[in-house]
């Protein structure tokens, strides 16, 4: 069995396994979204205007949560040493981890995004695009986030540090993701924005693993 599939299957099993899978990230996502009306008041007009955008912001923050689990545990219990001596290079391992993060964390969040957006007052007709942009955006968030997770290996403060490292890099996906929805809502052409979002995601998926592998090798040395 090719090493990559063994790795991917394990990452998926571990993410869905006893850890409750994406439940934590989903709860955080909904919790953040519910704080918004409490913070800015519940007037439908005001909320509806920012509903897609804030759903996307909560999505980006929620995708930060499970990043620490991506490499830190393998680094601490010695698995990373074994992964470095496997049949496929560390870059493939990193790609498998990024993909698993997208599938087990990004996809559920993408399913929840429309629900949250509608709850905040987004129009129903936006739902398909919100789901699509959250799903495609999730790819970029997973791999760019993975770079942050790998870079913070061996540091004392994992969680917050990862956020500080990757949030500036989340600017493009958030802009294109939320921008696509807003363009659609405003009757403008939303295809370019979604295209750029997909381009960012694919670039992150293609280049991210190299940075992640280099960071892992650095932490292992």
């Amino acid at each position: 069995m090719n090493g990559f599939w063994v790795m991917l299957r394990r990452e998926m099993a571990m993410a869905w396994g006893r850890g409750g899978g994406p439940l934590l990230a989903l709860t955080f996502f909904v919790a953040t979204a519910t704080l918004l009306p409490l913070a800015v008041g519940a007037s439908p007009a005001r909320l509806a205007a920012v509903a897609p955008g804030s759903a996307w912001l909560a999505l980006a923050l929620a995708s930060l949560l499970s990043l620490e689990r991506l490499f830190e545990r393998d680094y601490e219990d010695g698995t990373l040493d074994l992964l470095a001596l496997g049949p496929v290079p560390l870059e493939a391992v990193a790609f498998a981890k990024g993909l698993a993060q997208w599938l087990t964390n990004g996809a559920p969040l993408a399913l929840a995004a429309p629900v949250v957006a509608v709850a905040l007052g987004a129009e129903l007709r936006l739902v398909p695009l919100i789901f699509l942009s959250a799903l495609i955006g999730g790819l970029g968030l997973a791999f760019t986030g993975g770079i942050g997770a790998a870079l913070s290996l061996g540091s004392k403060r994992g969680g917050v540090l990862i956020a500080v490292l990757v949030l500036p890099l989340f600017a493009p996906p958030v802009i294109f993701g939320a921008g696509a929805i807003e363009a659609f809502a405003g009757g403008l052409d939303w295809h370019p924005a979604l295209g750029l979002l997909a381009a960012y995601g694919l670039a992150a998926a293609a280049l991210g693993p190299f940075a992640m592998a280099a960071a892992c090798r650095n932490a292992l040395s």
Binding site: S155, L161, V164, L165, P172, F176, N218, S221
Partner: protein, 238 residues
């Protein structure tokens, strides 16, 4: 040229005279720049606030320039494993962050009379703000990892990732700006600027660059001494 400077001792000998010399050049350039800043005619529309441009635009330019240097040093550090390249990266980041902070503050002060608010999400100012966050991320990562060699390599990787992302962020912020169309105060830049303004702008820009070059060398020298001191302390203890 880089190979020659890669060896710490040769760099120390070179920078011993180069740092002060470039420093003096910087002072002269900035002095002339300031003199012109206050002698050029004021802008018919912005009045005297346009003079802030002469300290804002060079700072914003330096913010980008320093990050490019940071990316270059990180690349040299990762690919050629020069310990001096790591020192150069570590020395460059605080200076870059300083210029970026300056660009933000002076930009906001420059725009204040027109916008009526202290901050507007204008395309250029927003990307400079994101750049400041990248600098802070670099320095935070460097400080978070105890082992210096690992910290330097991790930070270098982050700097390269940031360098690749910089044009993407710039593009996405510009694209986002067209979607939201806030007022932009930076029409003054570019060829439409009266010739009289070009001189002070160029002098200040080169002055800032010389200042950065000299301070960068000074900070790299202190990094070399710090490593030597750590080595000696270890030996004394060892």
């Amino acid at each position: 040229m880089f190979q020659a400077l890669a060896n710490p001792q040769r760099f120390m000998d070179f920078s011993r005279w180069a740092a002060p010399l470039v420093g003096i050049i910087a002072v002269i350039l900035i002095a002339m720049g300031l003199w012109l800043t206050f002698s050029v005619p004021e802008d018919y529309q912005q009045g005297d606030t346009v003079r802030i441009m002469f300290i804002h635009v060079p700072a914003a330019y330096m913010a980008m320039f320093c990050y490019a240097c940071l990316g270059g040093a990180s690349f040299m550090g990762l690919v050629f494993r020069h310990s001096l390249a790591d020192a150069a990266g570590r020395a460059c980041a605080p200076l870059g962050a300083g210029f970026t902070f300056l660009a933000l503050v002076t930009g906001s002060l420059w725009g204040r009379p027109m916008w009526g608010t202290w901050w507007v999400w204008d395309a250029r100012m927003t990307s400079v703000l994101v750049l400041l966050l990248l600098y802070i991320g670099y320095m935070a990562l460097q400080a978070a990892i105890d082992d210096e060699v690992k910290a330097a390599r991790a930070a270098s990787i982050l700097a390269l990732v940031g360098l690749i992302n910089l044009p993407i962020i710039k593009f996405s912020v510009d694209w986002w700006n067209t979607l939201h169309q806030p007022a932009s105060i930076f029409r003054a830049g570019g060829p439409t600027m009266p010739a009289a303004y070009l001189w002070p702008l160029a002098l200040m820009a080169f002055g800032y660059m010389a200042l950065f070059g000299s301070l960068w060398m000074v900070r790299v020298r202190s990094e070399v001494w710090r490593k030597r001191a750590n080595g000696l302390a270890l030996q004394a203890a060892g």
